[in-house]
Amino acid sequence: MLKKALIGAVALTALTAAQAQAQYSENKIKIGVLTDLSGTYSDLAGKGAILAAQMAVEDFGGKVNGVPVEIVSADHQNKADIASSIARKWYDAEGVDAIAELVTTAAAVAVREVSKEKGKIDLVSGAASTPLTNDKCSPTGFHWTYDTYALANGTANAVVKTGGKSWYFLTADYAFGHNLQAQTERVVKANGGEVKGAVKHPFPNSDFSSFLLQAQSSGAQIIGLANAGADTINAIKQAKEFGITQGGQSLAGLLVFITDVHSLGLETAQGMMLTTGYYWNRDDETRAWSKRWSAKMDGKMPSMVHAGTYSSVMHYLKALAAAKTDDGIKVADQMRALPIKDASGFAVNGKIRADGRMVHDMYLAQVKKPSESKGPWDYYNIVRTIPGDDAYQPLAESTCALVKK
């Protein structure tokens, strides 16, 4: 009996030792897509992001150096506590190696803390706020698709330079809205514009008429919408209703996704300027990838978050293959070293900086008139390509501890 138990113990030890020598723990790569599957952001991220991650795995061949790759997913309901407890469970009990997507800043920051502690990779795509590459930065954390700094830089710069000097803000009263407003104010003032005022509206909010009237009476030329999703849609819809745009004032949507434009319809959204990290109808490469995605999503077209998720997961897989291990730090080093290029056409001139920011070209777009649109989801004219280095916060300004000064 004792002998059997001893043999068992020896065999078990040998097995564990063998596993430790393997390149990839548990001989499997697991990538978790943690996103909003039921709430406000479930169209711009959600199941479309899970599909994008799966497409990346399929395009990569399903295996990294012969080790199979699996995608798991969960709904964080835009709540930080749920996000961090799923992340912990995934890392500790289920052998997840990296977490991707992560819409909603609060959820992304919560997962960032856990990933940093465990030395695991996070690939943030949907969340917008800049702290992710400033005081919340991590050696194994990446911010892929866009951020409030780049949005403000793109849209506000363009608007101020075309004469929109005075601004009034409608700001969603939570961390993201405040962050976006602050970033935009910085750009407006730096370009010689002035801020006439701001109103913080409850989140979420459906009736904006009162706030729009305040913005109207401020006499500002531009009404900046520092909010997102249904709030932005309602504000734009009602601005048209109250004759704000006809009265000579213009709206600047500071975070507008293609799903929002689809919801508004071109009749209402036409002429609006916005900044995006991706547009499906930009060139042959983006069209080809987006149509593959679209075929599995009832004819919808991908948002920048969807394409960004694909791009980040694809780059992670390449780094895994090059590093020949799933050790977070070593994979992160490879991610910084390897060139970024994938089939979605997402990361044009992409590079990853020390603070974890993936810097790539952004696009200033204008929403088409209904008469200009050639088909479903043909919504944008790309007015200007903003080179990544001009769009994103300069590395020298980053408060990230990993940036050598």
Partner: protein, 295 residues
Amino acid sequence: MMTLFGIPTAALFGQLLLGLINGAFYAMLSLGLALIFGLLNIINFSHGAQYMMGAFVAWLGLTYLGANYWVALALAPVIVAAFGIVLERTMLSRLYKLDHLYGLLLTFGLALIIEGFFRQLYGISGMPYAVPKELAGGWNLGFMYLPIYRAWVVFASLVLCIGTWLLIEKTKLGAYLRAATENPALVQAFGINVPVMITLTYGFGVALAAFAGVLAAPIYSVNPLMGSNLIIVVFAVVVIGGMGSIMGSIVTGFMLGILEGLTKVVYPEAAGTVIFMVMVIVLLIKPAGLFGKGA
């Protein structure tokens, strides 16, 4: 410029008018809730989902059948009410003898299922619905620009609210209804079919919600959660007005719309909570609500 409470009077008038418009929605929705609670003793938590269904039926009709706004305004309430009647007959009617809580839980669950269903089919971002041509544009009132459509909303809502109040309080049918809530057995003994009356009342309450939904479609984003954002506020309105009081819910709806409108100017950050603060105060001082009878 003349000022009142530190706000230019012109701006104040504008905000009062906007408050009145929002109040119209509160009034219509809380009216349906009060009606259902007053006569069926059911706290209808699926009211928000039924409001959303009204808006969606309008959108579906326009998109797939080419049915315009006016057709939707007439038909959507009927269609959604028919759906409500099926719910009432198959599920709600089993709960009348139990505590309020059971009805609340059932309707809450139904609301989640209905919203989930629409979310699965149409996503979360919502659908565009244009203001009907006849009501497009607006009037410049000097102190503000009033979209014609918003004026129409207030008008339609007032007609609907007053009509309903007259129906319940001043007609024979209304008298039967009120009697049936007090003592169903006795009313039944007089040869009146009480269960059918109750079913139709539920259907009517649901129709009010759907009607409000169609009115809302051109103003707000038509999305599966549009009702759940509103329903909590509307419940607060009903509690403040007095559960089951029809006039109470109408008057309170408009009043609180105005109060909320003013808060949006004076201290916008509190606009989302001011109604609930009033609710707390009213519950502490007059638990039956401003227009409620008894405790």
